[in-house]
């Protein structure tokens, strides 16, 4: 039995402990927002958060998740209005959309680590996500916008 939290809900699953989290999410729990792109941790489409850190779910066996808290694109916000999701809307980021849940979750992981990353930090962190449609410039601008808001928020909090 593997116990972990998914988007705030307790899960208790009897599955092959070697099954990657990606397939647990998609096939066992029917949460299909997280996508399969390469199966080797090379493309980032499968990115989710584990205890607020970005991980590649296609190469993370479920056994590694005991006691952990997983957030997927479905759990990023209740109403689709996370600042990243809003920024994605403002910059009209997605084209085919397939890589975008992974992009957004990887960006969320970055912002947990570094609420106000530089453009250089954004590019380095987001290098793990491939977008075949080529939306990189808009992704970078969207993350930079949220980073800027975070910076302002920090200033205001001080």
């Amino acid at each position: 039995m593997i116990k972990f939290t998914l988007n705030g809900k307790e899960q208790e699953l009897d599955v092959d402990p070697q099954m990657p989290l990606l397939w647990v999410l998609r096939d066992v729990l029917q949460q299909t927002g997280t996508k399969f792109g390469c199966g080797r941790g090379l493309c980032g489409a499968c990115t989710v958060l584990m205890d607020k850190q970005a991980i590649r779910s296609c190469i993370t066996p479920i056994s590694a998740l005991t006691g952990k808290s997983i957030t997927t694109i479905e759990g990023l916000s209740i109403d689709g209005n996370h600042p990243l999701q809003q920024a994605w809307q403002e910059f009209n980021v997605p084209q085919c959309g397939y890589c975008q849940p992974g992009q957004i979750m990887n960006a969320a992981g970055l912002l947990h680590q570094t609420p106000n990353p530089s453009r250089e930090q954004i590019r380095t962190h987001m290098a793990g996500n491939i977008c075949r449609c080529g939306t990189y410039a808009r992704i970078e601008n969207a993350i930079a916008k949220v980073a800027e808001a975070n910076k302002l928020g920090e200033k205001q909090a001080k």
């Binding site: 689709g80 809307q89 890589c99």
Partner: protein, 752 residues
Amino acid sequence: MSTEPTSTDKPNEDAPTPKGSWLNRRTFMKLGLGAVGTGVVIGVAYQNRYGIAMRVMDYMANKDFDPSAFIVIPSKGKIQLICHRSEMGQGVRTALPMILAEELEVKLEDIDIIQADGDPKYGSQNTDGSTSVQNFYTRLREAAAGTKELFILAASGTWKVAKDKCYAENGHIVHKDTKKKLSYNELALAASKLTIPSNPTLKDEKDFKIIGKPQTGVDVSAFTTGTANYGADIHVPDMVYACALRAPMPTATIQAIDSKKAEAIKGVLRVIKIDPIPASTNVNASVCVIATNTWAAIQGKQALNVKWDYAKAKSRPSSKEYKQQLKQSIDSPVSVYRNDGNALTAQASAARTHQAEYHTPFLVHAPMEPMACLAHVQHNKCEIWAPTQDPQRAIKAVADYLHIKTTQVTLHVTFLGGGFGRKSQPDFILEAVAASKQVRKPVRLQWTREDEIQHGFYHAESFHRMTAGFDADNKLVSWRHEQAHPSMLTVMMPNTDAPTVFEVGMGASDIPYRIPNIRVEVGKATSPTRVGWYRSVANLWNAFAVNSFINELATLQKEDPIAFRLKHIGAPRTQKGIVAKFGQETGRLIDVIKHTKDKFGWDKPTPKGRGKGFASHFSFNSYVACAMEVSCENNIVTVHRVTMTIDCGLAVNPDSVKAQMEGAVVFGLSAALHGKITLKDGIVEQSNFHDYPLLRMPETPIIDIHIINGKPEQPSGVGEPGVPPIPPALTAAIFDATGKRIRQLPIMDQLT
């Protein structure tokens, strides 16, 4: 307007038709009755007794085309606008409804957009060739304008006022004098009893509220919340999951299967064989693992031990030898596709000649979504969910395979996580159908990334030899382009053994330069592997060879590459099209060239250590010019900035056009820098993103896109035209920065 066909031309399914002419006596808008929510859905009924005869086509796919199918106006509930093209990121689900909404006078946020299933009433739904807006701009405007006029008629009847005292605004018909209004919903029943006007008046472009204005994609919310459904996201009761181990080459067959280890894996239900399906569907023989989840199916596939038989393989080619074959074949040309003057004589008597050879490799599409299809074969029917670019071709292939009628096949088109031409092929759909037929359950057959890279329909490898001749006055007097590549026609006709007139017409035989002697010829080439069509198709290698050679000639002549191009394009003219419907209007090409030059700041000095390069190309009836600035240090190319201008006639959604151009830059740079598929003994050597790298965010330049609406009544291609100029602009910029001439792609191979 005449009711008889006025043209003796053979009708072209894809040609946009003059206003009103696709409404014909045989087209009926039937009353579509059904229950939706609390109300009754009534499709707008229309009968055109007078028949403006459509030029009768021999395109059988369009005989049941039903214009009413695009707009559903119920008496209660939201108006539905139907999108009949596949959404793969090019923004059709936003652009096509924008066109309908404009003429119908409704707001996009007030309507529902429905994705069309594969259905003959939509005509051909084939999504490729950058044709969706091009082919349907006028037809959709007419459908919506006709619907609006029908509702004005209904309102005028209801109020007993003259119809010219009524107008449409924001989903209502309004009476000018009294300002009373009725919604489309309220008028639906009355409208369904009337006859749609056959020759609707289209809005004046200056009154456009939606077309031509940037529009956020209608599906952004779904994409950013993970709720958009792609091929692998549909669940049906009782379904099983599959993954296939395919024969390493299309001609290899199964000799022996050892599936003991696979069957022992938890979750694996059984292991089946799928026979090859030849010709235009090209399905390899495969051994397919059926399981209770995708992971078990993939594990099962990896545990299979299959012996392949290569007895049927006529050859087991490798890339080194194949490249030599292509090079040798152009020494014995088999067809001449352009022959102005006499290039051979002019070349022989030229004061000076210059020759260069260019080579581009096989490429694989690598959409982020590897193929996946859910198929459920039942007695005398089949239901499919698939990310397909061509529903009609898939339905026909499935019907033929199952020996049932096409009307017994239901195909739901999901979102596509990228297509680029790969998902035009119905192979992945047929495999799922074949598996479902055997196991008698709904089967979702998932392709791994390795499957997608190794069992592609590749962008063809090409070889070019270019020769130019200058006379004693240093004038460019002869141009000879010899080329060979396997043809994409082999998908439909496997015995095609040379480049076709239409492939060569994409950038080689339709060059816009005024050179007195031009010869474009091809050598034989059969295909060593499967080839298909890939974003921008033959334009990609032709633009590379032509632009690279023009850039080399400019350098030889010590002329600026832009000035050299403009000099040889000469005064604006319309050059008859070979592939492109409308012919190349060189004045529009000149405009994008000059615009890019200006916006890039071409005449400003290049920063130290950097180089700049230029390319221009006409494809899919659109005009593109591109300039870029790069630096090259320790064999690492950094692309700093790219300026690109497109004239696509009219940008229906300018932000989507901008996005497509931005994406084309990234796509083109990936191909130019990294893309390479090679064969060893007939088998593809690459398998995943570690050996088929794609451009990532840190490598992406600053991209500056400009749009010229050079012919607003005639929108032209957007999805593909941005790609071809990128590789030659890049190699030119690298030459400018380093003095190194690169004539073979990918660039990274030439630098390391």
